[in-house]
């Protein structure tokens, strides 16, 4: 029996801008179980980072957040006081950001920053906090951990800083970790190491992990379940195997065609492309958000909002009226051939 760590239902984020209301995130429902990795994948501006900030209640002030349900381990964290929220943040759920240099304070040592959260949230002595910091630094593969505590962030390389960030996220033993593009700023070799480490630690500490990324290679290797976002909406969810072996939504299929896959894509051949641009999310948009770029679009797609359908395969859903009929299957086969 799995334990549900995070339950988000109908999350919506609106941002007032000079030209109207920007519907940045619309009607997002996601959930994460203990020990599970959910990847939210999408291109810049699709709302994936705002979704994670909304869960942490770290949205910019002018953004309006609405949700039917936002629960961390069966306890609502929606509409609670800032004080209670700051008890939860960094304690029961923590976040790892893309740029480790800007998320570490350059004026404090690694040791200060690692122990600060633990000493604030739990009543532990300085010595105990330090022991835990050394333990976790060793866990994230940092050698000579005890001597690193006195170092400042600028003395560490990018890969080491990201490891420190991960150790910091783990200090209070959280139930859930949200990692927003944790490896985008790093070299490929370091990227693989950091992901490896994240996956290992998640298994060891039995946490829920939400990984937000645009890199389909990363997603394929680490995700249990995937939510594909486009223009503020989830367009497709499913297990990693489902999404990558049989993508259903035309957007997911388009994305997978765009990346060269060593051994599969013919060298030097033309890659797939998604024509057109992401529509503006300011104001109301009737019909399917992907309609303007979709090869399968017909009149029904533009008639009204397209809901997220449950797919006949278990644990899978898709926001498309056309993807699952014979027509589509034919086109997708042509696309492969």
């Amino acid at each position: 029996m799995t334990e549900r760590i995070l339950e988000v239902e109908n999350l919506t984020i609106d941002i007032p801008v000079p030209s109207g209301i920007l519907h940045a995130v619309q009607d997002i429902s996601i959930h994460v179980d203990r020990g599970e990795t959910l990847c939210i994948v999408g291109e810049s501006g699709c709302g994936k980072s705002l979704t994670s900030l909304a869960i942490m209640d770290l949205l910019p002030k002018k953004a309006i957040r609405q949700a039917a349900r936002l629960e961390l381990a069966d306890e609502s964290i929606f509409g609670i006081s800032e004080r209670r929220m700051s008890d939860i943040r960094g304690n029961r759920m923590s976040m790892i950001f893309q740029e480790p240099m800007t998320s570490l304070n350059p004026a404090y040592t690694i040791g200060d920053q690692l122990t600060e959260a633990l000493r604030r949230h739990r009543k532990v002595s300085r010595g105990e906090a330090k022991d835990r910091a050394v333990f976790l630094l060793e866990k994230v593969g940092i050698t000579a951990a005890a001597s690193r505590l006195g170092q400042y962030p600028h003395q560490l390389s990018g890969g080491l800083r990201q490891r420190v960030m991960i150790a910091m996220a783990l200090m209070c033993g959280p139930d859930l970790i949200i990692a927003d593009e944790p490896t985008t700023a790093l070299d490929v070799t370091i990227q693989a190491q950091i992901l490896h480490l994240l996956a290992e630690l998640q298994r060891e500490f039995n946490m829920g992990l939400i990984l937000i990324t645009h890199d389909l290679g990363v997603v394929a290797r680490i995700a249990d379940r995937i939510a594909v976002m486009y223009a503020g909406q989830i367009v497709e969810t499913g297990s990693a195997a489902q999404i990558f072996t049989e993508p259903l939504h035309p957007y997911t299929r388009g994305l997978l065609d765009c990346i060269p896959i060593p051994g599969k894509t013919q060298r030097g051949a033309h890659l797939g492309a998604i024509p057109g641009i992401v529509p503006s999310l300011v104001g109301q948009m009737p019909g399917c958000h992907f309609a303007s770029r979709c090869p399968l679009v017909d009149d029904h797609c533009l008639a009204g909002a397209v809901p997220l359908f449950d797919h006949r395969d278990t644990n899978r859903s898709i926001r498309c009226l056309r993807a699952d009929n014979e027509d589509t299957q034919k086109i997708s086969q042509e696309g492969v051939a």
Partner: protein, 313 residues
């Protein structure tokens, strides 16, 4: 299918989301800038007041009730028209000074001197500081070291004391005041331009221009300067206000503009003996000075706001 693309294309106005091919996403920088300028209250007020003072100065010979140098001891110390005194007259709306000169006329002509000194000193210091700062920021290394040394040397000189010393040594005139101020207050230009240039210099479009074979002159003048001009405008306004205040201070001390020229600082100095009897003699040039400096500073702050990077895309 083409219809779909078109119809949704038409509904795409300004958007923060962009990744595709075929649409102009934003209005042009020029029109955005105009919108921001006129939407900024401080900028509009500052600009408006400055414009009024500028018109006063330019049109002084036309709109003045009298001549700034005409003395009439029989009509001295007439209070301004809002005073409850039998002497007030609409011939002298702001009254007359100790020597019976029309105060309004002298305020108008004083605006000329303040603006002239502020502008000229700002131009001289701007030229020196910008040249030094941009060269240091662009070339770095030894040039930067030398410029930094010059800046540090300059910063260790107290402006007012040096100005006092120079003016008392070679005598005082409008030209001397302009040059002394201009040669002394370029430090902020140099410091700000140096760091702004360093930032822009590291951007790829400068490397692109270099690999196109552009001359250093071209890169500095047409790639870098347009991108640091916003900082330049802001510093220019600050330094202009600074120069105007320094001129007033020097004139007040008797080392700036010499009588009988109508400088606001000098007018305050001439009236300081009358502070308790005829306070308006000090208040009027004081208010004028305050309004001028405030309007220039408002303008500068406004320019900084509307050109700040966080306001751009």
């Amino acid at each position: 299918m083409t219809d779909v693309t078109k119809s949704s294309g038409a509904s795409q106005g300004g958007s923060i989301l962009s990744s595709g091919l075929d649409d102009i996403l934003e209005p042009s920088p020029g029109s955005l800038m105009r919108k921001r300028i006129f939407g900024h209250t401080g900028l509009v007020i500052g600009g408006g007041v400055l414009l009024i003072i500028l018109l006063m100065a330019i049109l002084a010979p036309v709109i003045s009730p009298g001549d700034p140098y005409d003395q009439d001891l029989s009509r001295k110390l007439i209070p301004p028209v809002w005073h409850e005194s039998a002497k007030v007259t609409w011939d002298h709306p702001l009254g007359t000074d100790l020597l019976g000169r029309d105060y309004m006329t002298r305020i108008f002509y004083g605006a000329r001197i303040s603006l002239l000194i502020g502008f000229a000193a700002m131009m001289i210091s701007g030229l020196i500081g910008t040249t030094l700062g941009v060269l240091a920021g662009y070339f770095g290394g030894k040039v930067d070291m030398v410029v930094n040394f010059i800046i540090t040397t300059r910063l260790s000189l107290p402006v007012v004391l040096v100005a006092l010393a120079v003016v008392s040594l070679i005598g005082s005139s409008l030209t001397v005041v302009i040059w002394v101020l201009g040669l002394l207050i370029w430090d902020r230009f140099a410091v700000v331009m140096r760091s702004a240039t360093q930032q822009v210099r590291g951007l790829d479009f400068v490397a692109a221009a270099q690999s196109l074979g552009c001359s250093t002159r071209h890169i500095i003048l047409s790639e870098i300067m347009p991108n640091v001009a916003n900082h330049l405008i802001v510093i220019a306004t600050i330094e202009m206000a600074h120069a105007i205040l320094l001129e007033a201070a020097l004139s007040f001390l008797g080392l700036g503009v010499q009588p009988p020229d109508p400088s606001w600082g000098l007018m305050i100095a001439e009236a300081k003996g009358m502070l308790f009897f005829d306070a308006w003699l000090i208040t009027i040039p004081g208010v004028a000075l305050f309004a001028l400096v405030l309007s220039i500073n408002l303008l500068g702050d406004g320019m900084r706001d509307v050109t700040a990077p966080e306001n751009r895309n």
